[in-house]
C-alpha cells in the first residue's frame, strides 16, 4: 500500500499540470455554452448538449495522452528508474490507471453537472433522483464503456511499444496495434450489440419525461413510444460488463509486460 500511495503521489506530481488543464478547460466549455444564444429553446439546448459531448470526447483524448507518456519517459531515462523499483509492474500500472480514472471521474461528473445547468437554463427542472442519475449514474456508465477500456488500451499500447525498444524495432508492434485498433473496436462493438439486453437493462431517468413534458408539452406519439421503450428497457448492462472485463484483462497484460520490459 505504501508503494502504491507513493506511486500515486508521483503520478500526481508528474501529471498535475495535465489534470489542472483538463479540469480548467471545463470553465472554457462553460463559457462557450453561455455564448450560444440561438432563440429557439430546444435548438439552443441541443447545441449546448452537443458542445458538452465534444468536451467529453476531448477529455477522453487528453486523458489518453496523459496516461500514455511512457515514450517520453523512456527517452529521458525515468522509465528506467521506475522499472528498477521494488513494486511490481502491476502496481505501477495500477497507480497510473487509478490516477487517470480519478481525474476522469471528476471531469465527467462535472460534465454531468454542466448538463444539469444547461437544462436549468432551458427551464427544465429535474427532481433529485434524476439529478443524481445525471451526475453520477450516466458518467459512471459512460466511463465504464469508453474511458476505462480506452485508457487501459493506451497503457497497454505504450508498455508494449517500450518492451520492444531495446532489442527489437519498436515501431512495428506499435504500428500494428494502432492500425488494428479500429478493426478491433468495430468487431467488439458488433459483438456487444449482438449480446445487448440478454440481461435486464439498467433503468434510468424514470422521472425525466415529466420534467420534459412540463417544459415542452406532450411530444408526438412516435417520440412517446421511443421514450417508453427506453424507460422500459433501460441501458444495456452487457457493454459495461464486457468493457470492464476487457479493461481488467488489458491492465493485467500491461502489468505483466512491464515486468519483462528492458530499458
Amino acid at each position: 500500500m505504501k508503494s502504491l500511495r507513493t506511486l500515486l503521489w508521483l503520478e500526481h506530481r508528474r501529471s498535475w499540470v495535465w489534470m489542472a488543464s483538463l479540469l480548467g478547460s471545463l470553465a472554457f466549455w462553460a463559457w462557450g455554452i453561455k455564448q450560444v444564444r440561438v432563440m429557439e429553446v430546444g435548438e439552443r439546448l441541443g447545441i449546448r448538449a452537443g458542445l458538452l459531448a465534444m468536451a467529453a470526447a476531448v477529455g477522453v483524448f487528453v486523458l489518453c495522452l496523459m496516461i500514455g507518456r511512457i515514450r517520453a519517459e523512456t527517452r529521458h531515462g525515468q522509465y528506467q528508474v521506475l522499472l528498477l523499483t521494488p513494486p511490481s509492474g502491476y502496481t505501477h500500472v495500477a497507480a497510473r490507471y487509478l490516477y487517470a480514472i480519478g481525474v476522469a471521474l471528476v471531469y465527467f461528473i462535472t460534465i454531468g453537472f454542466l448538463y444539469w445547468w444547461i437544462m436549468a437554463l432551458a427551464g427544465i427542472h429535474l427532481d433529485p433522483t434524476t439529478l443524481i442519475e445525471l451526475v453520477l449514474a450516466v458518467p459512471f456508465y459512460a466511463m465504464c464503456i469508453t474511458v476505462l477500456p480506452l485508457l487501459a488500451w493506451t497503457l497497454l499500447l505504450m508498455v508494449f511499444i517500450s518492451a520492444y525498444r531495446v532489442s527489437g524495432p519498436g515501431w512495428v508492434p506499435g504500428t500494428v496495434m494502432l492500425l488494428g485498433t479500429p478493426f478491433v473496436f468495430r468487431w467488439l462493438g458488433e459483438g456487444i450489440v449482438r449480446v445487448s439486453y440478454s440481461l435486464p437493462g439498467w433503468r434510468l431517468f424514470a422521472n425525466a419525461p415529466a420534467a420534459l413534458i412540463e417544459r415542452f408539452g406532450q411530444p408526438d406519439p412516435e417520440a412517446v413510444l421511443e421514450i417508453d421503450r427506453f424507460l422500459y428497457l433501460g441501458v444495456p448492462l452487457e457493454p459495461l460488463l464486457i468493457m470492464l472485463a476487457l479493461a481488467a484483462v488489458m491492465l493485467v497484460i500491461a502489468g505483466r509486460i512491464w515486468q519483462e520490459v528492458e530499458a
Binding site: 505504501k2 503521489w9 529521458h76 528506467q80 528498477l84 521494488p86 531495446v166 532489442s167 519483462e260
Partner: protein
C-alpha cells in the same frame, strides 16, 4: 557470491553489447569497470541490475534472477533521470516510499556532504543533479552498487566530492562496480579492475597486483585497450 556471469552474451538488434562474459563478484570489493566507449560497460551493469536480459548465458544475482532481485541492487545509470520538478525533498519522499532500505537521515547527511542545493533539479547544474542522484543511491543500504559513469560530464570539484563520498560510505561487506572514463582520478579506489574491449573481457586483475608490478590501472588501461 553477489553476482555471477557465466558466458553471458547480450545481443541488440544488429550489434552485441557483451559477448561470452564470465565474471564473479564476491562481497566487499570496489571494482573498476573500464573500457572505451561501446566496450560493453553499461550493458554489463544493466544486465546485473536487471534492466536487460541476457540473450545467452547464465546470470545470477544474489543467487536468483537479476530482475527478481532488483530491490537489493542499487543502480545509478549514466543518463540524467530525475524529473525536472523534483527537489531533494521530493526525491527523499519517493525513495522512502519505494525502497524499504532507504535511510532518510543518511540521505540528508549525504546532501550536506555532497553540497546539493535544496531546489528543483531543473534549476540545478549537471554536477548538482549528479550529486543528488548519487546521494539517492548511496542512502540505500544495499550490498551491490552499480554505478555507471557517475563522474561523466561533472566538474572537477564535484567529481572529488563524489569519489570522497564513495570512500566514506563504503562498507567492507558491500561491493561497488564503478564504470568510469576518469580512470586516473578513481584509480585509488579500485581493488580490482575489469577491462572490456568490444564487449569481451580483455583483463580482470587485482589493482594491488598491478601496483606491485610497478604499474597502475591507468597504465594497464592504455596497454590493454590501445
Amino acid at each position: 557470491m553477489l553476482a555471477r556471469l557465466q558466458n553471458v552474451t547480450k545481443r541488440y538488434r544488429t550489434t552485441e553489447g557483451v559477448r561470452d562474459l564470465s565474471l564473479d563478484f564476491p562481497e566487499g570489493e570496489i571494482v573498476g569497470v573500464l573500457g572505451l566507449n561501446g566496450s560493453g560497460k553499461s550493458t554489463m551493469l544493466k544486465l546485473i541490475a536487471g534492466l536487460l536480459f541476457p540473450t545467452a548465458g547464465t546470470l545470477t544475482v544474489f543467487g536468483g534472477s537479476a530482475r527478481g532481485n532488483r530491490s537489493r541492487t542499487v543502480f545509478l545509470g549514466e543518463t540524467d533521470t530525475l524529473w525536472p520538478w523534483m527537489t531533494p525533498r521530493d526525491a527523499c519522499r519517493l525513495m522512502t516510499g519505494l525502497y524499504p532500505d532507504f535511510e532518510p537521515h543518511r540521505f540528508d547527511e549525504l546532501l550536506d556532504v555532497l553540497d546539493v542545493p535544496r531546489r528543483k533539479t531543473k534549476a540545478m547544474s549537471k554536477g548538482e543533479r549528479g550529486r543528488l542522484r548519487l546521494a539517492m543511491a548511496l542512502a540505500r543500504s544495499a550490498k551491490l552498487y552499480l554505478l555507471d559513469e557517475p563522474l561523466a560530464g561533472i566538474d572537477l570539484l564535484s567529481r572529488e566530492k563524489i569519489l570522497m563520498s564513495l570512500v566514506r560510505e563504503w562498507h567492507t561487506d558491500e561491493t561497488i562496480l564503478l564504470s568510469t572514463h576518469e580512470v586516473a582520478e578513481a584509480e585509488g579506489l579500485f581493488e580490482r579492475a575489469i577491462y572490456l574491449r568490444d564487449g569481451r573481457l580483455a583483463l580482470d586483475v587485482p589493482a594491488e597486483q598491478l601496483r606491485q608490478q610497478g604499474g597502475s590501472v591507468v597504465q594497464t588501461f592504455k596497454e590493454v585497450l590501445a
